[in-house]
């Protein structure tokens, strides 16, 4: 068996609900009303992910389907290394490129050309690598005529196209995609999908999250957890274990749900895998809005 590209073991991410500024506000009012201790209790936290375990084998495409607020983007940020898990461990093998927000590092005042080279370096290329891929990037973005204009003059479609073109040419071993396939017109979308298909042919690992079903079909969706919305008043609401064909290394989520209070609407995300013809991993994890 090939070594997995992404291994998540019982990953949890807990955000503090209040910023410091607000804490000071509550501190002052807490002192005035005498509720200091109760206000500082740890239920001021927000569990975005809890007990998430999965493995993505090298060269497979792994999709995560879930509603808004189910923790998909948090998961991508964790895998990308932008934030650290509160509990559990997460290991990623190989260069990661995250299509989380396109063109996040662009500076509006300088030209597309300069932004391409800076963004490329930011995403982990060397200056020489950027130069070598420059023409390819510009051609992919279809911005040959505007590459010397400042990025602030670009339309949002042009901006996204350039951002996508740079991110995809970083040549990562692991590609993370977050609902960004709707860039530009249909022809460009198809081009993006072709590029992603090429990635898959070359045996790269892809982790992608989407609120709906995937927009491309390469492999078959072999198995998945259900992803319809569920209402529950129980904080221990859990998704039933996913169907058959668990691969080695698959870990069922722990029995405890997110430590939640109140009648929160519990949403769940399910993940499923699309591989070249064969399912290899599947799991589900609970999340809270």
């Amino acid at each position: 068996m090939i070594a997995p590209a992404i291994v998540a073991r019982d990953v949890a991410k807990v955000y503090r609900r209040f910023l410091h500024r607000n804490q000071f506000k509550t501190l002052k009012s807490a002192l005035l009303t005498g509720s200091l201790l109760s206000d500082l209790r740890p239920d001021e936290t927000f569990t975005a992910l809890d007990g998430v375990s999965f493995e993505v084998p090298r060269g497979t495409t792994f999709g995560v389907i879930g509603e808004n607020g189910s923790g998909k983007s948090t998961l991508l940020k964790l895998v990308a290394g932008i934030t650290k898990p509160t509990r559990g461990s997460l290991a990623v093998d190989g260069r990661v490129s995250a299509l989380i927000e396109l063109g996040a590092g662009f500076h509006p005042e300088i030209s597309g050309r300069e932004n391409v080279s800076i963004n490329g370096i930011m995403l982990g290329l060397t200056r020489r690598e950027v130069e070598r891929r420059f023409d390819e990037i510009v051609d992919f973005a279809e911005l040959r005529d505007f590459i010397d204009a400042p990025v602030k003059t670009y339309s949002s479609g042009m901006y996204m196209r350039l951002g996508f073109a740079v991110a995809i040419h970083v040549d990562p071993e692991v590609l993370l995609i977050d609902e960004v396939l709707a860039v530009g017109d249909e022809a460009f979308t198809r081009k993006c999908l072709d590029k992603i298909a090429e990635f898959r042919r070359r045996g790269k690992t892809i982790l992608f999250v989407t609120p709906t079903s995937p927009t491309w079909r390469g492999g078959r969706m072999r198995s998945s957890g259900p992803s319809r919305p569920r209402r529950s008043t129980s904080p221990r609401h859990r998704r039933s274990p996913p169907p058959r064909r668990r691969p080695a290394g698959w870990h069922p989520p722990p029995a405890t749900g997110p430590a939640a209070g109140g009648a929160a609407r519990s949403r769940s995300a399910a993940c499923a895998s699309w591989t070249r013809g064969d399912a290899s991993a599947t799991c589900s994890f609970p999340g809270r809005p």
């Binding site: 650290k84 590092g105 080279s117 930011m122």
Partner: protein, 261 residues
């Protein structure tokens, strides 16, 4: 601290391209463009010279005549220092989208503000040297210029790391810092001659690392001799300490940046 230095060396290509982006973007759209780097210190010089030769004349000791030139030797490095601190305090917040959306070595950002302001300093330097040469003040001691420059760089980087990390959690820092820098400016011998200050006030000024850096610049460029070794060495030690503390704080708070900015 060593890890912070290593990170900056490792990402030097990124720092370099971000600094050049910063310089290009700053004057984009202005008529004078890059000339502003020259014009800015000249206008500043003009204002202060007007104040201290026309409005408040005759208060300077003869040791620092011509006064405008003495002042120029101090204000140029001071501007680098104060602008670095002021800009770095907000840099993690203004670049929040980078920290939140891209896997990005955050220490690059405060370093970029320091180096971008260093570039402005270096662009203003030829004007200063030209003035010095015109007044016949330029001596071989000008070759020692890299010494206070390096000490100041260490100080700036240390403070930039410290302030940028702290501002993420306490936005108040940005508001306070403006006033602190104002006071700090007067507590540093830029407008006056350090040699003229005696007594307790002198002892107080000695505690300020920037005093020693500025005195070194003035001796090297204006007075044509350099004897402030101990002071500059002390400032370097303070700088290394500030850098170590700044790097430590930055590293401790690093994981909280994506959530707090």
């Amino acid at each position: 601290m060593i890890a912070a230095v290593r990170a900056l060396v490792r990402y030097r290509a990124l720092v370099r391209s971000l600094v050049s982006r910063e310089l290009k973007a700053r004057y984009r759209g202005s008529v004078l463009g890059f000339f502003w780097s020259f014009v800015n210190p000249l206008l500043l010089l003009l204002t202060y010279t007007l104040v201290f030769t026309v409005i408040l004349p005759g208060r300077q000791s003869p040791a620092i005549e011509p006064y405008f030139l003495f002042f120029f030797c101090g204000i140029l490095p001071w501007t680098w220092f104060s602008a670095s601190l002021a800009e770095s305090s907000g840099v993690l917040i203004t670049s929040g989208n980078l920290i939140k959306k891209v896997l990005f070595p955050a220490e690059v950002l405060p370093a970029v503000t320091v180096f971008a302001n260093l570039a402005h300093f270096l662009l203003g330097l030829p004007i200063l040297l030209a003035f010095l040469a015109a007044e016949g003040k330029l001596g071989w001691t000008a070759l020692l210029l890299p010494l206070p420059l390096v000490v100041q760089l260490v100080l700036c980087l240390g403070f930039a790391l410290f302030l940028s990390a702290l501002t993420v959690h306490f936005r108040d820092v940005q508001s306070i810092l403006g006033h602190v820098l104002h006071l700090w400016f007067f507590a540093t011998p830029v407008l006056y001659h350090y040699g003229d200050i005696q007594g307790t006030l002198r002892q107080a000024l000695r505690l300020n690392p920037m005093t020693h850096v500025l005195v070194s610049y003035q001796q090297i460029l204006f007075h044509g001799h350099f004897g402030h070794w101990r002071g500059l060495g002390l400032a370097l030690l303070v700088g290394l300490f500030v850098f170590a503390v700044g790097a430590f704080l930055f590293d401790r708070l690093r994981d909280t940046f994506p959530e707090e900015v």
